[in-house]
Symmetry: C2
Subunit: 190 residues, 2 copies
DNA sequence: TTAACTCGTTGATATTTATCAAGAAAATTA
DNA sequence: TAATTTTCTTGATAAATATCAACGAGTTAA
């Protein structure tokens, strides 16, 4: 967990003791490549942070898997929307590599948040960062063409380009795998 | 401001005194129809809550105005993403009606949030609700067709359908005004 | 009241994108 | 290594969507 502790301290500004207290609520878990971290219909009652490996969030529409998120080191993987709405999860999350993660029940997290104001602030902060990402992606669907959305990933999300299969990236930016292939060809010959 | 006070108490669970304290930081402002609440490049240093009327957020791309948000009673209209990133606003917000709103500097808000833990929790809560909306819209771009996105508005956002001109709704769901017109025709004859 | 403007619709056409089918290249497994 | 599966590419065609142009109905403003 030390990698994540470093992240809490250096990136999120926690002090050493708070970081230890926060991490004490977690348990380490391994997911094998191809296994599910979460299936559609599961209750979302655990928060999960990836320490190593990456995962893909997807929904199944007309028998096809459509990617909605990718998760990497230090990312949270839980279905926050359905947790907030107290509904069952609608998301599948599958390991693309062997994953090492830490997990805590949401009840434990909420207790920490209510007892230690620093945690509450930190949760809010992490949430804001996540919001910025989501809002930017939403705006990109309104404003940009598929080609521009792809170039945006190339520029700002190299980890997605380098670690995720191309056909899964395609659905993430809202196009077919064939079309993404042609967009890439067009880019490379210009 | 009493309408918004009722909203704070009944919908967001604040008590009477906290609601009064919160509202004491605000000043009431009127915007005439067609005027700008905010222009691209403005510093985002004020939070604004609409009491009456509605407004449209848009960006200009290739000389065309593309709608990115609509704001109604009780909505916040500030450019949160650019505020968080400490950048200049990228959004234009224009009054579609005469608007009555209340405004507070962000510094004043942050002071209240740091002094009164209830405000901090409330801010987080409002933020979460906003996040759910944004994330759902992002997912709709990935998963749903333009027709389905429009039907979704008809079902869940009647205030948008009834109060916003159709060609502005079109860009909001990522299509041309002509295409939305044809989608509507198709729906009405089936 | 007339003139100008906004809004929605429709048709013709061009462009973009999806779908279907096949195969090559790369990675994984037996 | 051979076999299998996954991934990516390409071509042909179909479907979806944008663009351009025109028009009429309402609204707003002079």
């Amino acid at each position: 967990m030390n990698v994540y502790k470093d992240y809490l301290i250096s990136k999120l500004g926690m002090n050493n003791d708070d970081a230890d207290l926060f991490l004490s609520g977690f348990e380490e878990v391994i997911y094998k490549k191809g296994s599910f971290l979460q299936k559609e219909g599961d209750k979302c009652n655990v928060i999960r942070i990836i320490l190593e490996g990456c995962a893909r969030g997807f929904v199944v529409v007309n028998g096809k898997e459509i990617s909605t998120n990718f998760y990497f080191e230090n990312d949270h993987t839980y279905d926050y929307v359905n947790f907030l709405l107290n509904k069952k999860g609608t998301l599948n999350i599958k390991a693309l590599d062997t994953i090492r993660a830490i997990e805590m029940t949401i009840e434990a997290l909420e207790f920490l948040q209510s007892e230690v104001i620093g945690f509450h602030r930190m949760s809010f902060h992490m949430f804001k960062m996540n919001y910025i990402k989501t809002e930017n992606e939403r705006m990109n669907f309104i404003i940009k063409s598929p080609k521009e959305r792809y170039l945006n990933l190339v520029k700002n999300n190299k980890h997605i380009i380098s670690r995720i299969p191309q056909h899964q990236i395609a659905s993430y930016i809202g196009i077919s795998p064939e079309h993404l292939s042609r967009i890439r060809k067009e880019i490379s010959t210009s």
